[in-house]
Symmetry: D2
Subunit: 463 residues, 4 copies
């Protein structure tokens, strides 16, 4: 017995049209202007947009960082996601130098299995350029259903790898159907400036941003793109925070390269002045790359509008102010990096993008669902409303407003960088493979419903 989603307006990355959907056997079975409901459950989507569930290409759940672990695990994190309208996440499995990629993946499978309330996939990070590591990449892609590999140009002595490793990873991925992701900041320069700031006794949260100048991101983005150009490899730049980095991507695309950029909600609505909030509240905004001067917000939005940034991820990485962020009370460099954004990612893009008049609902879907699905090998199973696709459906009511607050959000963390923002538009229903996981503010799914989603090989011409 299926479910008819009745009376809504279907929105895909391309289309907007009045139609009913029949969800059956976890799939979208039928699309018609008015479908017979006989024998099926019916949900009322009138006045709503019926869109593919959100796909969050960038999350960090149950992740160790600097002696602590993120506040959200796969259960609480995916529950927050579901209530925000997201039906799939792709989380980062963090490779450790010397370990195998297969082990790494196994560890992360164990974290997610039986906990996640929505579907999930994995990216792998690459911590070293050993021959053994490089040799694993083709097998991971072909056998393990992971098609993307992230390298860090920052976090010296921790996650950072050298250009040799980046280049080899690009070559392997280009050859075997993978997509390299890059955290693009020059970690060497940051290392020097951070030490100088600490030696000078500068401790407040704002020094996190001031020790990571925007040119570090501009430089690293340009470098990664040139390396991709030499390797003839596609490249995905995560969490673009600044006009300078986004312009480097535009320049790469201008010369015909397959470069893709991602930005995140925090870069669209927060700005440098947030670091200067009193009472250590600035620590909420300590994440990397840092939040930039306000004028960058408009540039990033116009880049999204013009599809010079292609994907919208949360970079969710939650830490409590109390007990976690506090570790850096006397030293900004000890504040765990990250913010809880998995739940409100769609809300922010809808508010500033669609309500702000910069994009229509189709583009909202493209950025927050379809493009991530295509880039990370989940399409067309995920990321669209089409016959045969998974019944991951977001029924979005554009006329109801709510106010974001840590008091009412569903993530397991005591702060929210969007605290107090009023959003017009919110999920009415959320379906994950036909199962209603959210109805308004109520979680209606179940722990462990989510399953691992194998990624297809990356094919650069599909976006």
């Amino acid at each position: 017995m299926g479910t008819v989603v009745a009376g809504g307006t279907i929105v895909t990355a391309t289309d907007t049209y009045r139609a009913d959907l029949l969800l059956e056997d976890q799939k979208i079975a039928l699309i018609g202007e008015t479908l017979p409901t006989g024998g099926h459950g019916v949900v009322d989507a009138s006045g709503c947009y019926v869109m593919p569930g959100g796909i969050d290409p960038h999350t960090h759940l149950d992740m160790p960082f600097g002696g602590t672990v993120t506040a959200d695990d796969f259960e609480t994190g995916t529950r927050g996601a579901a209530l925000g309208g997201t039906t799939t996440i792709v989380d980062f499995a963090l490779h450790t130098r010397g370990d195998s990629l297969h082990n790494t993946l196994a560890t992360w499978h164990a974290k997610a299995a039986g906990k996640a309330v929505i579907d999930y996939g994995f990216h792998l990070t690459i911590a070293d350029g050993r021959d053994e590591t490089m040799a694993e990449i083709p097998r991971i892609i072909a056998e393990q259903g992971v098609n993307s590999f992230k390298v860090f140009m920052a976090y010296k002595h921790v996650l950072q790898v050298d250009d040799e490793t980046i280049f080899k990873t690009l070559q392997q991925c280009a050859k075997h159907g993978g997509l390299v992701q890059v955290h693009a900041e020059n970690g060497d320069v940051i290392e020097v400036i951070t030490k100088q700031a600490r030696d000078a006794g500068l401790t407040e949260p704002k020094w996190h941003a001031l020790t990571r100048p925007v040119e570090c991101e501009g430089e690293a983005t340009h470098r990664a793109i040139r390396l991709a150009e030499i390797a003839n490899a596609p490249l995905y730049v995560v969490h673009v925070s600044s006009a300078m980095a986004a312009d480097a991507i535009s320049d790469g695309r201008k010369r015909g390269l397959a470069i893709y950029g991602e930005t995140c909600p925090q870069y669209l609505v927060c700005d440098f002045s947030d670091y200067e909030r009193p009472n250590f509240e600035g620590a909420k905004y300590v994440l990397s790359p840092p939040i930039r001067d306000k004028w960058n917000q408009g540039v990033l939005l116009r880049k999204l509008k013009n599809m010079e940034l292609h994907s919208f991820g949360s970079d969710h990485c939650s830490f409590n102010l109390c007990g976690q962020k506090e570790l850096g009370k006397d030293d900004f460099s000890k504040i765990p990096n990250g913010a809880p954004t998995i739940e409100d990612r769609l809300a922010i893009l809808w508010e500033v993008g669609v309500n702000g008049g910069l994009m229509g609902p189709n583009q909202f879907v493209a950025l927050s669902s379809t493009n991530p699905a295509k880039l990370f090998g989940l399409f067309p199973r995920k990321g669209t409303i089409a016959v045969g696709s998974d019944a991951d459906v977001l029924v979005w009511d554009p006329n109801t407003a709510r106010t974001i607050s840590a008091k009412t959000h569903h993530m397991n963390v005591d702060n929210n960088v969007f605290e107090g923002m009023k959003i017009t538009g919110r999920p009415r229903f959320v379906f994950s493979r036909g199962l209603k996981v959210a109805e308004g503010d109520t979680f209606t799914g179940r722990k462990g419903h989510g399953t691992f989603q194998r990624a297809a090989k990356f094919f650069p011409v599909q976006l």
Copy 2:
């Protein structure tokens, strides 16, 4: 009594999925994996892509030019289009200085009505910047169903208007929901160089290209974009022929502007050396902007792939070699400008784009159908496969090959700039609002079936 298109793979700008379509009452009525056929006709789409019919945003039919008139009128031209897989064209109604836009439109309605075999819309050109002309623009948009207005920066003393007229047109369109199109070449410089070449006794067809240097296109494209920037207006640059012009568009988009670029099949497969063909055959390639050096082809293709060019038009403008192009036998500047490309537009993009490995079928649909529909106010009635859309359907067989030739094409003209090209992929069936207008090589439609399509206002965020 409808038609079931059975067994094919649906392709839209976003989606690719196995499904059947039911065409009924000129519309797409139902989409399902397998539809019951009871009472309906059935066409076999197995092994085929089922796509929205092509939309050609740039045609010149029954158009006077330099004392002659194009070889194709609305009957022969649209018949060629239909057999190539195109189900809608948008033709240019040519305004004459001092005349009203309404009169101009009436003239073109008269040319098309009762003749066209597929649907059509109109763009209007703007020949002068008189207050009366500017005052007509809002009414044309609101009442006449035309949302785009083209200005010429070239053809001095004939079609060229000054920057004041361009700027006013941009302001009017920005205010009232229109989209300005621009033919971007610096006509003043061309005028000087052309005269110098003629004075020097240089007569062969290649001098057409040599008197229109690429910097003329680069300059004018940049200028038009800056004017649009000041007017805060969207802009559509027609027939981009060169890397230099395409880069100017990329630069505009990089700074967040709503600039759209169109290129045409002749710029992807012809090159400057074609002008040097013996026996005046070079005259076939006399069109403006001219065909460029070969290396530009790859740049344009990569720009299409990266969606830095957004639309693919034919710029069909056919003249017979015999009796028409011959007018310029002794003077390249007297050769009527244009080439017959309406029929093979889709074939060329498929061959160099999809078969060439640079893009997938989704992007083929986006460039040749969906984007033109969105830009010119025809979407979602045209340009997609969705419930409720017009039943303009192209069943495309990707495995059958043919060779282009003037001997076998269906346009009413004695030459073809793609003569001898082998194309793998061709229409199996073409439907216009549910009427089968082509089956393989056979025209099965009827004269006068085509109707005028009113354009909605242009809304810059919809692409």
Copy 3:
């Protein structure tokens, strides 16, 4: 009987060294560490820089404009120049449509002869592109000692010419040893916006700037450079006011073109907020291109430092507030355009450039004397301290301060856009062909001493 300039430090565009100079027979006769003074007059240059006299490449003296005439003629204007350290000016002879260039030049010779207190040359403006006008250019260069020709892209219906005229002028100059100068603003766009502002009842001086948006300058600069590129001609862009225009010049030079840029003192120290001064004082700053937002100042200075702008002119064009600027009391578009800057040009560059730490004295000399001399065919007769050069010598005391004021300046006008600025550094002595024309604040020259200076042909590799 010569003059020994003793004890100073010689500064040229390249060199700085301790030496004495012997001025004899209007020339620099000898350079040695310590020269014998027997029989010669001696001036004490100790503690001073001994530099070539300033060359102002951009002045408007005795010029009719909008029904009035500039406040300064060749006597008062050159006297102000001399007291500021300038020993040569190049003034614009304004061609009128339909008139001959020879007549124009004759008119301007009559204005200057017997009046100028220092030497002068002429540029010619080009008001039309008639064959007769173009045919005069080679003869003007070869016979009349004028090597530069200015075209206006702004002032529609008055001075503005079309691109055809600009391009022909570029071709003629490239062929015959001339240098085209361009006033780069898009006059068509300005015409439309100005009318719209006036129609809306906007009258204050600031609307002068707001109706000439910076993109008009950016566009026109880019266009002029592209036209020069096609014509393979050198180009000199006058009075660059903005980063956008300066960047266009950088881009042209980056691709190897012989493009030269000039900026003026008012763009380095005034900014948009000056237009908002009360009591119509904003009218002082009405000049074209307008003064820009403050951040442009730093960009222009860094461009001077990096030699991406090459020449520093005053664009002196003086009008009294009382009786002249007042003509636009009720309509910003009727305010005569221009400001009195001939006297303080060197002072401003010294203060913001040298005292500001951005450039050394060599570069000061290059920008304000040597480069203009080279560009406008006066070098090596003018523009350097070398044996055989004219004894045009500025003895500059870097340690004495003064405050600029209309109350104390020597120009014949009632206002000064630099009013109240304190400058450290001023002329101690100024020599024109060996004649001491200024000593401190006292004019010691004579009316009519100045003679016309024939320009050599322009040779693009000399800078």
Copy 4:
């Protein structure tokens, strides 16, 4: 008793004028149109340009490399230089990881002292970023007369340092008056590609170039400039070989940075096809960055003309084909890198620059003498013809031709990359501090005449 250089035309970076010079006490004592010769020696400079002796900012003499040592030491190398018209060199003292900079310098002083026939200075390379090394920099600048420090971004595991070291060096130099030089190629990428080529059995000399793609140079140049931007430091990019790297420099200067670029004669006249010469002759051209495709030559020349490259060095590093280059007979990666260019540096720039019509003699002097002198703290003692400067004088006869050949050159090496080139223009006399060291083809100086030249602190505004 001094020497009068009579009858010549003095050429400096700025000036060209007829005058005689008196050389006395190792200095230029007097400049006058016609000097009395009483008691002095006289050399006939009629028909010649009298210019400051060349300053070669980039030489490698007596340098160990890959188990061998350069063919030229300070005696043979400087003798070749002198006969080519160069009167000062600045050689690289190569720091070894863990060693002190002071030791390094002492080693190089010992190599040069008593041998050099002309004056010399030193640059220091930086092999590690240890605190001790960084702490030495200020003392080296203040006490040792060395103002420039070179970092390598290539030669992984040998000379390459990480970005942390580069950034610290930039900071130290910015603070203490030093100038950082950078060898800009991405050594990590080159390491990977080189290994892949060797593993694939590719051995010929051309693989040297093919394993060092131009993007490696473009990337590293961009990166170094960004690091300098963050450190607010000036930067000198050595041996720019390609348009891509030169464009990165233009972009940096466009945004106002103090970036300086050097190119070398081999990049102006050799091209990639030289690697394909038979019989291992391609090995002559094995140097880094490699010689590029031919079209880059014109770009580099236009960049020199437009002063977007500022300095012209030889990068002399000579190895015999026989016995040295042969080490890489079976493995391109074992061929010692470098070519003998110290003697013909001036000849090549004169031929392609001045005789080629792209620049005048002033610019020749600026690029090959004055600018290096200013950048490396030798000006005004060296690098100009001015009263009080060292009597380092090159009397250049522009009308005499010669043909370059290893058979006739004066360097101690068996090959010449300019073999067979005909040059019009050559030294007639060369003076080093008043001593005639060359007359035509004959060396007239003496071993050990050359002395170490202390560099003044670098001051970014002096160029």
